[in-house]
């Protein structure tokens, strides 16, 4: 037996519809090196895994060597940590149940853990971000969709089958609600995620003749609507006021059952600033269980774009027991 060297680095992988980013990250969350491939270039998932593995090895070899890496963590939409698989992802080229953790481990000879982006965001915030030191908190991911993951006494709550946190698919408008991508009507996501925000803007523009900078926008998006708010456009401000109101009530109900220390917002739409957060906070305080009024912190993730995708995935890599084909 001999004294071994501690492995201080892992690989964090973030798979999204557009690109798959992978990075070498150390214990402190420093990103040593990163690269990416285009997810949609690979219609066959086997080819994708082969290409990803090859490029990971290349990155690692050019930055310290393969023996310095402990394990790999992967963030993917619709992934289940318990199953180690992607399950029926709507926005990826491959359908059905994909045993990604096993596939990647076979290629790389390293332990691999897989989880969905909401779970990963929460883990990232706990390990390296706003939620460090907290034991009960909720991380809300608002972007294309509305997802969440909450921690209970220091551990992520995954639910019986790993599907927990689907706040976006709670029904907030039971009668005549908007159709959601999941097939139901009235889902919170259909009002507060990217498409929902744009739809509310379109509705407001149709409902009245009042002038608005939004009418001149070539392409309406949450970001451009926010820019109109910054310029004092009243209709744009009303868009975010309505979105914030609904989000606030949905989050108040969530907090009433979970009793979190804080709610951390991440995802593209968390950049909307006070236009979204003031009405959200107001509706939240008006509707949350009274003992919690004024007690729940609302925070916005401080990770920059580069960090956000891979830091949480790297944190996941530390969770899985070490495995090496070469022992």
């Amino acid at each position: 037996m001999k004294l071994e060297r501690t492995k201080t680095r892992v690989v964090g992988v973030d798979i999204s519809g557009e690109r798959t980013t992978f990075a070498v990250v150390d214990i402190r969350g420093n990103i040593i090196a990163e690269d990416y491939i285009s997810t949609y270039d690979y219609a066959d998932v086997n080819e994708f895994v082969a290409a990803l593995a090859e490029k990971i090895v290349m990155l690692v070899e050019a930055n310290g060597g393969y023996e310095t890496i402990r394990s790999v963590g992967v963030s993917a939409p619709s992934a289940s940590f318990k199953l180690g698989s992607i399950v029926n992802a709507a926005n990826l080229p491959w359908k059905g149940v994909i045993p990604l953790a096993a596939m990647l481990r076979d290629r790389l000879g390293l332990a691999v853990a897989v989880a969905n982006d909401a779970h990963i965001s929460a883990l990232g915030e706990k390990t390296y971000g706003c939620a460090h030191g907290m034991k009960d908190f909720i991380v809300i991911n608002i972007g294309v969709g509305l997802g969440s993951c909450f921690f209970s006494d220091g551990h992520e709550h995954l639910g019986d089958e790993g599907y927990a946190g689907e706040i976006g698919h709670t029904c907030v408008v039971p009668v005549d609600g908007r159709l959601c991508g999941c097939g139901k009507h009235g889902c919170l996501e259909a009002y507060t995620a990217a498409k929902g925000i744009v739809k509310t803007a379109e509705q407001l523009m149709a409902e009245s003749d009042a002038p608005s900078l939004m009418r001149q926008m070539e392409k309406l998006s949450p970001r451009t609507i926010k820019e109109c708010c910054d310029q004092g456009d009243e209709m744009a401000i009303e868009v975010y006021r309505r979105v914030g109101y609904m989000l606030g009530i949905g989050l108040a109900n969530y907090a009433s059952v979970v009793n979190p220390e804080a709610i951390v917002f991440t995802g593209g739409i968390s950049k909307a600033g006070k236009w979204l957060f003031d009405p959200t906070r107001q509706a939240f305080e008006d509707n949350v269980f009274r003992n919690m009024q004024g007690k729940v912190k609302m925070l916005v993730s401080e990770f920059n774009d580069r960090e956000r995708d891979v830091l949480g995935a790297s944190a996941l890599a530390w969770v899985v027991p070490e495995y090496s084909l070469f022992k």
Binding site: M134, K135, D136, F137, S148, F150, S152, D153, H155, H157, L158, G159, D160, E161, G162, Y163, A164, G165, E166, I167, H169, T170, C171, P174, C182, G183, K184, I249, A252, N253, Y254, S256, V257, V258, N259, P260, E261, D286, N287, F289, R290, N291, M292, K295
Partner: protein, 327 residues
């Protein structure tokens, strides 16, 4: 070395607005003996503690000896497991913050654990009832006081950062809805608790001339309304349907974020049977996140209503480390 030093019995105490019940319970959940006295006979908390501790000691001495008791668990509305205190109970004679666990331990010389009724009920279900063997589940209590809940995450009760978790009764189910006693509007309790059911019936009776057995001037209790449902009374059936349907919608949103293996219904209102539970199941199915719809079990507690409260409190007693003044 022998086993005589292992204690196989605990005391479970249930404090409710009507009675304070205390029982000696063994490790299998056999209730060996049980007594009670009216809670409101002791509006001074010191006198209450004196009465309770004296009675427990006498009961124990008459049934095998006080030295056989390991510890004590108490279920009290508005109690907080984390602080061991009753906190601003609305319906009990004693106001403010009462450090009940410490006060009782000082009197009795044994470890005391305190928790609220929702938490205790869920623990009872896990140890002795419908949640045995489950790790992620929700227990909903539909009692006289209101609607409470407690969910388990990976085998442990989720208490939240302040110990307030589970307040499903005070989630907003109707925007700008009925005034609730908690101060907010549109709470679930205002529509689906005993109080809410009564208001459903009153509003229906006022809104129409349809004849109804409920117009006889009697009190609109859940029991009376159930009886009238059995006799085909349209207003009674609709009042129940409304309560059940709104409850089902709320529980669907709850299950969507928690992803429990099961939702277990307990409490006196479940005696209303199919009149309440059929509409609840129907709306639940329609509203819940589709990926989990057929995978969540909706169950009714198998525990006897009379035993449930002290059984749960007895389970609580086992969690607290043993302490004895006499060692």
């Amino acid at each position: 070395m022998n086993n005589t030093s292992i204690k196989t019995r605990v005391v479970g105490v249930d404090v409710s607005v009507d009675n304070t019940t205390y029982a000696i319970v063994d490790v299998r959940g056999n209730i060996l003996v049980k007594e009670s006295f009216p809670t409101f006979d002791y509006p001074d908390i010191s006198n209450f503690i004196t009465k309770l501790s004296e009675n427990i000691m006498m009961l124990a001495e008459a049934n095998g000896g006080y030295d056989k008791i390991r510890s004590i668990g108490i279920s009290v509305p508005s109690a907080n497991y984390l602080t061991g205190s009753i906190e601003n109970a609305g319906n009990l004679p004693w106001k403010g913050i009462i450090p009940l666990a410490a006060m009782l331990r000082d009197r009795m010389g044994l470890a005391v654990a305190v928790a609220n009724d929702a938490h205790t009920t869920a623990l009872g279900e896990k140890v002795f009832g419908s949640a045995h063997g489950k790790r992620d589940f929700i227990v909903v209590s539909l009692g006289h006081g209101g609607i409470g809940s407690c969910f388990f995450s990976n085998g442990e009760p989720h208490l939240g950062t302040n110990g307030f978790a589970g307040e499903i009764g005070h989630t907003c189910v109707v925007e700008n809805g009925r005034q609730c006693t908690c101060g907010s509007r549109g709470c679930l309790e205002a529509y689906s608790s005993a109080r809410g059911l009564k208001q459903n019936a009153e509003e229906l009776l006022a809104a129409t001339d349809v004849p109804s057995l409920l117009r006889d001037g009697g009190e609109l209790t859940p029991e009376r309304i159930t009886e009238c449902c059995e006799q085909g009374d349209a207003i009674a059936i609709e009042a129940m349907r409304l309560a059940g349907s709104i409850l089902g919608h709320s529980l669907a949103n709850y299950a969507t974020v928690i992803n429990p293996e099961a939702v277990i219904m307990t409490g006196s209102m479940i005696k209303a049977g199919k009149w309440l539970l059929d509409p609840m199941v129907k709306t639940f199915e329609e509203s819940v996140f589709q990926n989990i719809r057929d995978r969540v079990k909706l169950l009714v507690s198998i525990l006897d209503n009379n035993d449930r409260d002290v059984l749960g409190a007895s389970a609580l007693a086992w969690d607290v480390p043993e302490y004895s003044l006499f060692k």
